[in-house]
């Protein structure tokens, strides 16, 4: 039994503008001590997934419609509020993207740290304080004794994120959910924080779900990666497998969208065309179909399930030997993955059925076609 | 003059003159204090002595972390601020202190693309109005011509020309950024200052915009000052890259050189901090973890501004020179300038090699996977090459 098991989780938001289909039935496991990367762009449902695990979806709009989440065999969704509260912070902790807004600006670091400890342990405030000092030292904050009395705004961004980490690890939780922990930080600070995170979780044996949009970050941090798109997991594999053989068109597209700092000069990026889907529509067919260069007729109508890339005798859900799975009717061939485009002779992406979908109106830049008739500049201007 | 004619061309008699020449540019923002009457107690030295030149048709990347002054440099160049000191020369004209109509006329020739596609478009104007506004302001063409031009511009940036009647909030981030680009193109500018044009966009959209900017440059002979915090993106798009730290340029080189042979300890650290989407590379890389945070630009350290965090200085036993003497930008090899007293020590160091993941014994062969057009360089850069 894995530490965390998520089964067919469906989360929706009811808003004035209608229902938002945030997470549409995802299943994954996290093993104790493992680091799982959750990769995707904004709105793909990666943060919502984790808020749902913590039962912290914004009320009353967000609702878990379906699914099961167990931590150490305890069904988190069925748990009464008081017990899930007990588990938060103690068994599962979270750190968030923006350390400025994630710390309460009107409370001192001490108050915020101590309350966390006191909430779960029958510790005195003095003990809790001692522990807080220790934790701040552990995350590399100089002069923890005095810094404890500071307010969040008196710290730099990197230091704040260190405080957040110290707070999250205060009770040595089994699972740490790190939601874009470095996105708001500069790259040199990001390096510091990632290093710290890696180091500490390894030391404490904490399992981590690392949410990020940056494939580079997970490449160095995670043992296994789930790629999410539009509320679905579209590809999952151990990290080396995923990068060795990216197999979902979306994963391929992502890898072709960012220049690598170690890349040779030249080379054009191959962007994913179009825009992310409107989540106010119930997903029909493959959610990536409108932007996919490999789509076939079936993609429009039928959402492919997550299946092993190659036939396997036994599906391994977690760990370094987990099965590489994708949800795709027509996965790119390895060569195509390398070029980022379908290269099969004569292949044309299947046109959308019926009316043209709005998003498709965005075309590739039509530079060539429009170079002819630009109005001349005003002659009067030129004479001046 | 059509845009086509302008493309890649130089004006007669202007052949070798740089389009933009920045000399010792300084932009200080005063800090005032006082109970009743505010008085000047210091300056935030956002830009503190920046010099570079930009050739016609070239792309110069300006890279650095937040607060390093890169955006201020860009904004000062298009004269959104009046510089505290130094000189900005555009196409041979000193525009440092230009004002009024003269400045307005000059602004036709340099345009800006902004970071946040949401806040940089007036939500109360439709797209045609936004894109056509520069034409309006500079009274270019008849109303009909302007309308036509707007339609074409929308096509150029890959938007449906019929979208002119729509409003910004009806578009996604990437589409909005295209609108921003179209606006910048409206008056046939020669220079475009792109201030973090992709950092607010989703990963999958970033490539669309990068490609758009590159194609436009090819076709229209544009000159870019490309400002970003992401060295990989800057390197990808720029011919040359300048690295800024605390209001100064610490290293300026051809992008290829900079990446493969960084000579400033800061550049090395910066490169090493960038995660590479390749677990194989990542696993062998050793990052240089800089200590602490960037000091305040209101009170920059003495001597070399980087000395408080410099790994090299530590290695060299904290030479006093770093804290005393302000290193000037010096050309170490052709077109590769660096502002470090001990830049020679960087060259060939393991840190330099490791920074881009090329350290260690194995070469590219060990790389598990890489996109074709985006592959790591075949061999580790030869030191000093």
């Amino acid at each position: 039994m894995a530490l965390l098991e998520v089964r067919d989780l469906v989360v929706r938001f009811r808003t004035h503008d209608g229902t938002i289909y945030a997470v549409n039935g995802i299943t994954f496991d996290v093993e104790a001590g493992e680091t799982l990367g959750l990769v995707g762009e904004s709105g793909c449902g990666k943060s919502v997934t984790n808020l749902a695990i913590m039962r912290l979806l914004p009320k009353p709009a967000g609702r878990i419609e379906r699914g099961r989440v167990t931590l150490d065999g305890v069904d988190l969704i069925a748990l009464p509020e008081s017990e899930i509260r007990e588990m938060r912070g103690r068994d599962v902790a979270m750190i968030f993207q923006d350390p400025m807004t994630s710390l309460n600006p009107v409370l001192t670091i001490e108050e915020q740290m101590v309350e966390t400890i006191v909430a779960h342990r029958a510790a005195t405030r003095a003990d809790a304080r001692k522990r807080a000092v220790e934790l701040l030292g552990m995350v590399g904050i100089p002069h923890p004794e005095t810094r404890l009395r500071s307010y969040p705004h008196q710290f730099s961004g990197g230091m704040r994120q260190r405080v957040m980490i110290a707070m999250a690890l205060a009770l040595e939780p089994k699972l740490l959910i790190a939601d874009e922990p470095t996105t708001a930080l500069d790259v040199t600070i990001q390096a510091q924080v990632l290093e710290l995170l890696k180091d500490l979780t390894a030391r404490l044996g904490t399992a981590v779900i690392l949410i990020t949009h940056d494939l580079g970050v997970v490449a160095g941090m995670a043992e296994r990666i789930n790629v999410m798109y539009a509320g679905f997991i579209v590809e999952t594999a151990p990290t080396p497998d995923l990068f060795a053989r990216p197999s979902h068109p979306y994963t391929v597209g992502l890898l072709h969208s960012i220049p690598r700092v170690d890349a040779a000069e030249g080379g054009e990026l191959v962007p994913i065309e179009g825009v992310p889907p409107d989540q106010r529509r119930a997903p029909v067919g493959c959610p990536f179909a409108p932007r996919c260069a490999w789509r076939v007729e079936a993609c429009w109508a039928d959402n492919p399930p997550l299946v092993p890339l190659e036939p396997v005798s036994r599906l391994v859900a977690t760990g370094p030997g987990a099965t590489h799975q994708i949800a795709c009717h027509n996965p790119p061939l390895p060569d195509e993955a390398r070029t980022g485009r379908p290269t099969r002779p004569g292949f044309v992406a299947a046109p959308p059925p019926g009316a043209v979908i709005d998003e498709l109106a965005v075309a590739t830049p039509d530079v060539e076609a429009t170079l002819v008739e630009f109005p001349t500049t005003d002659a009067r201007e030129e004479r001046r | 003059m059509s845009l086509a004619q302008n493309a890649g061309a130089t004006r007669p008699g202007e052949s070798d003159r740089p389009l933009l020449r920045i000399d010792d540019l300084r932009m200080y923002f005063p800090i005032t204090e006082g109970l009743v009457f505010e008085h000047h107690v210091g300056d935030v030295r956002a830009v503190d002595g920046v010099s570079f030149q930009l050739r016609r048709g070239e792309t110069l990347g300006l890279v650095g972390e937040s607060g390093c002054g890169k955006s201020t440099t860009g904004r000062t160049i298009v004269r959104l601020y009046r510089p505290t000191g130094g000189r900005i020369e555009f196409d041979g004209t000193d525009i440092t202190t230009l004002g009024g109509d003269q400045l307005r006329r000059m602004r036709r020739r340099m345009q800006m693309v902004f970071q946040d596609p949401y806040s940089s478009l007036n939500p109360r104007m439709n797209v045609a109005g936004i894109v056509g506004e520069p034409l309006d302001i500079h009274k270019i063409g008849t109303p009909h011509e302007r309308r036509e031009r707007v339609r074409e511009l929308l096509g150029v940036v890959g938007l449906n020309p019929e979208f002119g009647v729509r409003y910004p909030h009806e578009f996604s981030g990437g589409q909005r950024q295209r609108i921003g680009v179209a606006r910048a193109l409206a008056v046939n500018p020669e220079l475009i200052v792109a201030d973090e044009p992709i950092s607010a966009l989703d990963v999958s959209i970033q490539a669309q915009i990068i490609n758009l900017l590159e194609r436009l440059q090819d076709r229209l002979g544009l000159t870019y000052l490309f400002i970003a915090h992401d060295l990989s993106v800057v390197r990808h798009i720029s011919d040359r890259t300048a690295v800024m730290y605390l209001g100064r340029i610490v290293e300026l080189a051809a992008s290829r050189d900079l990446n493969q042979m960084p000579l400033h300890p800061y550049t090395v650290a910066l490169l090493s901090a960038i995660p590479i989407p390749d677990p194989a590379v990542e696993s062998r890389r050793r990052r240089i973890i800089l200590r602490g945070d960037v000091p305040s630009p209101a009170n920059p350290p003495s001597g070399c501004r980087f000395h408080t965090r410099c790994w090299l200085r530590e290695r060299l036993g904290n030479p006093e020179r770093c804290t005393v003497e302000d290193p000037q930008l010096r050309e170490l090899s052709a077109g590769h300038a660096v502002a470090c007293h001990f830049a020679e020590e960087v060259d060939g160091s393991p840190e330099q090699r490791q920074s881009t993941g090329q350290g260690g014994t194995q070469a590219a062969a060990a790389t598990s996977w890489a996109p074709a057009g985006n592959a790591p360089s075949a061999a580790p850069a030869a030191p000093g090459a």
Partner: protein, 298 residues
């Protein structure tokens, strides 16, 4: 794996493009409370405009013989007042005064406060400082006292009342507009327009004002509610229109307090009229706030 079974993917609805204003209007028409508010307002505007059509009676001339007919008396749905005039007619004509005074006073406030705020927000610096100190001075004087002072100073009369109520709003408008403008001055799209070479006037008129207007529109709508209440308050303090025959709600109510025990309905009806119209504008104002700034919606 299809998470949800929905019959078929629907193509994006082809819809006409619309600006934020039209968007806001659409949102407004979906906002129940705002619609109720608009309904009240429409009723009162119609009452004001159509008063002579609706009622056959003279709002001014009465007959003591016919005084204090109870509500429901034949021909007088709301009864008659102390002078024997039809109360419904007076209420209808009162809507004229209230709306007229309310609207004009708010417009005056907008003209004065808007100009001050626009100048302060557009120029900033010393100009801003001086104007805002003036605004602070005006704001420091409690509203009704300012209005009372102005009426005491300029004598009683509808124009004076309008000015007085307008002046209490002016500093508020000035502050709101100035605040929005200052924020907008640094916003990216204004900087963008500046970098294109837009003149300060163009920046103000095309970029800053249209965006600053939303908060001002909301404030003005809410100010209409307070204006109606303030005008009635001045009437209550005996500073209403000088002609005692004027059908002004506040004055009608106040004059009737003497006859509270004989004819409580003479207080009730104008009171209800004031409250309902104030509720109307408050609801509309809240609705506008929500629809003009969708982020506020919950």
């Amino acid at each position: 794996m299809t998470a949800t079974a929905t019959p078929a993917r629907r193509a994006a609805p082809a819809r006409a493009s619309r600006g934020l204003w039209r968007d806001a209007l659409v949102r407004l028409t979906r906002n129940g409370p705002a619609l109720l508010g608009m309904f009240f307002i429409v009723v009162f505007v119609l009452a004001a405009v159509l008063a002579p059509v609706i009622s056959p009676y003279d709002p001014i001339a009465g007959s003591l013989a016919n005084r204090l007919q109870a509500p429901g008396t034949a021909g007088h749905v709301l009864g008659t007042d102390l002078q024997g005039r039809d109360e419904l007619t007076r209420i209808l004509y009162g809507a004229r005064i209230s709306l007229q005074v309310g609207v004009i006073s708010v417009l005056m406030g907008l003209a004065i406060g808007g100009t001050l705020g626009a100048i302060a927000g557009a120029f900033g610096g010393a100009v801003d400082n001086v104007i805002m100190r003036i605004v602070d001075v005006l704001l420091a004087i409690p509203g009704i006292l300012l209005a009372i002072g102005i009426v005491a100073w300029l004598d009683r009369g509808l124009p004076q009342i309008m000015l007085a109520v307008g002046m209490t709003n002016a500093p508020i408008f000035a502050r709101i507009l100035r605040g929005s403008l200052l924020a907008l001055r640094e916003s990216d799209f204004v900087v963008a327009a500046r970098s294109i070479g837009a003149t300060p006037l163009r920046l103000l008129l095309r970029h800053m004002l249209p965006n600053a207007l939303t908060s001002l529109i909301v404030a003005a709508t809410l100010a209409l509610a307070t204006a109606i209440i303030d005008v009635a308050g001045l009437g209550f303090l005996g500073l209403g229109p000088p002609d005692p025959r004027t059908a002004e709600w506040g004055t009608m109510l106040t004059d009737s307090t003497k006859y509270l025990r004989e004819a409580p309905y003479l207080i009730f009806f104008p009171g209800v009229a004031i409250v309902i119209s104030a509720i109307g504008f408050n609801l509309l104002g809240d609705g506008l706030r929500e629809s003009l700034d969708p982020r506020l919606r919950r």
